[in-house]
Each structure stands twice: as C-alpha cells, then as structure tokens.
Symmetry: C2
C-alpha cells in the first residue's frame, strides 16, 4: 500500500562531498548532498548551493571548485563542514583537513579525501533560494591505495565513500556488491 508523502527533494542515496572554493587567497569548504552527475561528454556535475554560502562566493568569484569524496570514517568532519559557517570559524584549523594544490585549476583539493574532482563552472541559474551550478570536471585524482589492481579505476570497496540519507538524516557506508552492471540485465528478456 502506497502512502502519499507530499512534495520532497529527498532522493536515495545521496553523495556528500566536501566542496572547496578559493578566491583572493581565501579558501573555504562545505559539505553538500545536492550534487549529481548530469552529463558524460563533457563530464558535468550539477551542484545546488544556498546563495548565502561563503564557499559559493569564492566559487563564483574564481569560476572554479573542487569536489572531494570523503570516506565513511570522515563522517564527523563532513558533518562539521556542513553545519558551521566559514564566516565565523576556520574549518581547516578545526578539522585538521589539509589542502593540496590543484593540477588543472588554482583551487586546492582536500588531501584526506581519497578521490578528488577539479571543476570549472560552465553555467549557473537560480532556483528558489538556491544557486544551481553546472560544473565541468577538468581533472580527477585518487589515492593509489583506493585504485583497482591495474591502477585505472577507483575500487569503491577501498574508497569506502560516505553516503548521506535525507529525512532520517543519517550517514551510511556502502554495502556489498549485488551485481555487475551492463551484465545482470541479460538474464531478462
């Protein structure tokens, strides 16, 4: 039996990356779950941020950002970055997160996140109180420790990415593999 729950933005599951912006030598970081891939060529991600965010100011000033995937073990740091403002707190000093220079953008990546995406803003539009950015991913990096044996792909079991669940407001880890994509569907039809 279906129950009606009303309009909602909740989607299952959600990623919860740390997003870095830098302008005029100042850098800030936030955690955001409203992030999703929308295109493969060029590689493009949609990011929704409340307009009041200080990191957004930096992103719009520089036209750049980095998207950094945290591990499940980083839940406390991510939660902190998502719930305090860089206007009143130095989140890097508080969390111990450290930065590495970008390779394709001037904005740094977060060293402690094992997978990092360097991005440039391609377009932006306003939706309600949110700024929706479409950002092109111009480079990615990963810790060697989270790669597959051939070094070409991320081994998600090693990456152990943090997952966000809206509504009940939980952080979760990933569960075991249930099937190979582009393969298991052949059992049908």
């Amino acid at each position: 039996m279906k129950r009606t729950l009303g309009p909602s933005e909740k989607l299952y599951p959600m990623p919860v990356p740390l997003i870095v912006g830098m302008a005029d030598g100042a850098v800030d970081v936030l955690a955001a779950a409203w992030v999703g891939t929308v295109c493969g060529a060029p590689p493009t991600i949609a990011v929704g941020l409340r307009k009041v965010r200080r990191t957004l100011e930096f992103i719009e000033a520089s036209g750049e950002l980095t998207i950094n995937i945290p591990t499940a073990a980083m839940a406390a740091v991510v939660d902190y970055c998502g719930t305090v403002s860089g206007r009143t707190t130095d989140k890097f000093a508080a969390t111990g997160l450290t930065l590495l220079p970008g390779e394709t953008v001037r904005t740094p990546i977060i060293q402690e996140c094992p997978y990092n995406m360097e991005c440039r803003v391609a377009s932006a539009l306003d939706v309600g109180e949110y700024r929706v950015l479409l950002v092109e991913v111009v480079g990615t990096r990963a810790d060697e420790a989270v790669l597959t044996a051939d070094g070409k792909l991320v081994d998600v079991g090693k990456l152990d990415p943090l997952v966000y669940i809206p509504g009940t407001r939980e952080y979760r880890g990933l569960g075991p593999k249930v099937a190979d994509a582009y393969s298991i569907g052949r059992s049908i039809g």
Copy 2:
C-alpha cells in the same frame, strides 16, 4: 600518493532510479544514474539523459516524469531497463514491472519501486549530447512497509535502495549507519 586520472563524470555513490515518461498513451521506462537533487524549495532534481532516449521524447512531450527508487533486489530489472531500448522492446512485458496512476501528474509510477517521485519539467538545457532537465517534485509516495514507525519518513534500512558505482560498473546495497547527521559534527571544534 595521489594519481592523476583525467577528466571524468564519476561520482561516488550514485542513485539509479527508474524514470517513466508517458505521451499519447505510450509509456516507457529507463534507468539513469545521472540524477541529483539540486534545490529544496521548490524541491528540484537535475536529470541528465542522452537525447536519443525514447523516454525523453515522452517526457518532453508531456512535461512530466516519475522517478522511482528500486530496491537492491531489483538490480537485474534496473540493468535491463538501462541497457535496452523501448523502441525495440516492451520493457514492462519483459520485466513484469507494473504501473500505478500518478496522483499529481498523468504519468504513472512503478508499483514495485517502494519510493516514487512525481515531477514536472521546470527547465531544460543541452550539455553536449545530453539533455539536462531540472524537474520539480510535486508529489512523493512510499510503500507503508518502508516507512519509519511514525509513518512520516522513509526508513532507508527498509527501503534498501539500489546504488550504482560507475567505473567498475557495480550495483551495491547500502551499508550500516555510521553516524547521525546534524549531530556527529558537534564532536569537533
């Protein structure tokens, strides 16, 4: 040590909903991982679809779609819906998926998916070979069996949503809860 992997749209983790479009009495379904929430008010989701998709034709003709969250047990059905075309195959006949009428849109939802979002297209733009839709969620429904005890929220442990992992192309389930959001971060600073 970080290794450079080049530009990529891969994000971890990704949802992998079944998306339904209907026009002129014809209905089709596809599986898409390029879906992400971008705004809470109005509740808005970004969806990236290749322009050749038949379901996209229906969505653009009607201005509506439904986004249906499958369980981990539905991996084969989802994979099938993501890899064959409705131009040559009746995906509903092949998979046994059944439809329920929409409550707020004319487009139906998928009964077997325990969480369903009814949406209207708010805007659209082209990015490369993809059409990026920003869609407003005008209604959601869930199976009573996947709700929390108070009936107000989805209990994600009961929902058991399917998760997509790009690159290694895996379907996974969710793992255990690691922390409460808007709470664990208070242990810092």
